[in-house]
Symmetry: C2
Subunit: 401 residues, 2 copies
């Protein structure tokens, strides 16, 4: 008998038919002799409807009350799913975040789980119940309801799996696993049977959008076997674990991120502390920096380029212009029509020539590289946005054909 | 500075405009120097929508999960109201039933409040917060969510007022008080400035439907000043208290209940225990009896007549027919086209001739009385349904013109 945590997103419980599909998956897992804990998101458009209701009242709702409102969404879906499971002849009990012992920090809107007290879930499992837990929500030390922000239900599932020492945490989505590239862009993209936590983290950061980063980080920390699987096809999905057992591929995927803008600060004095002053200014204003590149300029100056998300471009440029004198730089330039293409793979570290192979593929496709950034298991290049799809296909074909 | 509990029903918070109307009432009360606790129901049709969602899944939802689902309704409305009050520049904090310390018994669907632990509400009031509490819901000793059944939000408001020793509990509805008769039937009906708990209880039982009985019972027990007031007109409403200060009117109202059916069990042996056997059979089957009348029949027999709600008529007749032999009765007759007209008034006890005055009014209107039942502060008569409106008007005119 195994203990399995299964997480279902909002589209998986969007209507009565889909709720019964989920109930079928859950009860079949239980019937096979497993203990099952289900983590469920709010139904389809519920969250958007709530946000709209709040927007009718105020542009600036108090974060605490927004969490009270949003958390009602999972309370609705978990009750309906419990009813469906009971209808199929199994005993299910639903628990809100606080009932399931999910304690968070004090932030509203994007709270982080501090601890999970799994006693109540465990005692229900011991009495042969299927336990349904509201994803995305918890309670803080003031006994006020909090929500976990984007991807929160994935994090709830992994945190519960960790607290219960579950054998497996399955994340059901509308895709049937993690692919070597976006299948909509690269027709030859292959589904991966397995991937390491680190590879999954790099891919999540790079915009693969299958699992939320925080959930993968937590799974890695507590060594929880994750599986990404489709609630519609029910085919075997992709397993995410510490070490993959299959023969290691050099790279596990090609990702593309178009939410990128590049800013260059030109002609900074080549003196100690200048870069620090620049990035501490940005950090203070909560601008998230991705790739950084420093090059030597003329006349004892240096140029620093970096990337930010497009939503933060205007604010960043405004900030820099306002502080131009303090920074002692000559000029500030920026461009937004660029994209970041990356390859990720744990096998990269022990295989030389991976970067060269990627650059060769881009060169053959006549694609100009604007910036390069590398880590232990990742190589990213910045290119023109219009070349993005061609670049992903060229790199993918080079490694996987 | 007074502490005031204000309760608003579902129609009062049905949309954004109405929510701001409520926020305006609440903040004006606070601005006048009062501490305010608001108890709020689910928005307009929310509860019906939830019941429909559940019905799509199963005819027989587990009561526990139904309460989880329904209680999300007040969580939505309380968050929206808190946002509106904050928008108006006041600090409001919303609390679910369990957060507000409302502990109930173990029943789902029609739970009763056991205790209210008001510490959290009190501490928020001490910090100058307007506190919004979800009506209709609480938590049982298993830490599971319960709902209080019909009229539950009124009961929540009174229970909180009792626990906080509030100075006043205002029940905002879409009528502007308690009338001497239904204004739709009797054009000359007058709004009462004051009414006693006992009178209100009799009127509620008799179908006036302004306040739920349980809330009035609780207000009487803890001596809470209640006020029924309209959230739309905002005129002074009707105060419900232990002793009314105005010169006592002989009667405070005329009520009519058409949800009545009469059953007669004829020819029971005139021996001890026969009536007990009849009514214990009905009690065992959860048939609620209202008026009972026993008369002497022929040949050492007696006839017992009583009334039930029309919804229970068929079941009651079936039960009696099945047990006819055990009851040793001759025959069972029934009729459903009847109505009960009642006058209620705490002044009745000290004023003789009230019953005679009522019967005179009915006699002058040529209305035949089928049964009579009296209590300390109430006189009810059973008449033909078709005479009901004429009877209410005739009696009302006799006492109030």
């Amino acid at each position: 008998m195994a203990l399995i945590v299964q997480k279902f997103g909002g589209t998986s419980v969007a209507n009565t038919e889909r709720i019964f599909n989920v109930a079928d998956i859950v009860t079949k897992t239980a019937q096979a002799g497993n203990q099952v804990v289900v983590v469920v998101s709010a139904q389809g458009d519920t969250t958007d409807d709530f946000i709209e209701k709040a927007a009718e009242i105020t542009d600036n709702p108090p974060a605490r009350e927004m969490d009270v409102l949003l958390s009602a969404g999972e309370q609705i879906s978990m009750a309906l799913l419990a009813m469906a499971i009971n209808k199929l002849g199994f005993h299910a009990t639903s628990l809100t975040g606080w009932q399931a012992g999910i304690k968070t920090d004090l932030n509203y809107g994007s709270s982080r789980i501090r601890t999970v007290r799994p006693e109540r879930i465990q005692s229900l499992l011991d009495r042969n119940r299927i336990v349904i837990v509201a994803g995305f929500q918890g309670i803080n030390s003031h006994d006020s309801i909090t929500t976990l922000g984007r991807g929160g239900s994935d994090t709830t599932a992994v945190a519960i799996a960790a607290a219960l020492h579950a054998d497996l945490c399955q994340i059901y989505t509308d895709v049937d696993g993690v692919y070597t590239a976006d299948p909509r862009v690269v027709p030859g993209a292959k589904k991966l049977d397995e991937i390491t936590y680190d590879e999954m983290l790099e891919l999540a950061t790079l915009g693969a959008q299958v699992l939320h980063n925080r959930s993968v980080e937590m799974a890695k920390k507590y060594n929880i076997d994750l599986e990404v699987v489709s609630s519609l096809t029910r085919n075997p999905g992709t397993k995410v674990k510490e070490v993959t057992s299959v023969e290691k591929m050099i790279i596990s995927g090609v990702a593309c991120d178009k939410d990128v803008a590049r800013i260059a600060v030109m002609g900074l004095p080549d003196e100690p502390g200048k870069a620090f002053r620049l990035f501490s200014l940005l950090a203070k204003n909560k601008i998230n920096i991705d790739i950084i590149l420093q090059s030597i300029g003329r006349n004892n100056t240096k140029d620093i380029s970096f990337t930010v998300s497009r939503g933060q471009l205007d604010e960043t440029v405004r900030l820099l212009e306002e502080n131009k004198d303090k920074l002692h730089c000559d000029s500030i330039t920026y461009e937004s029509k660029i994209a970041k293409v990356s390859i990720v793979g744990a096998g990269m570290a022990s295989n030389s020539g991976v970067a060269a192979k990627m650059f060769e593929a881009l060169s053959n496709a006549q694609i100009n590289i604007r910036m390069i950034s590398t880590s232990e298991i990742k190589i990213s290049v910045l290119i023109d946005e219009e070349d993005a799809q061609r670049a992903v296909r060229a790199v993918h074909d080079k490694f996987f054909d």
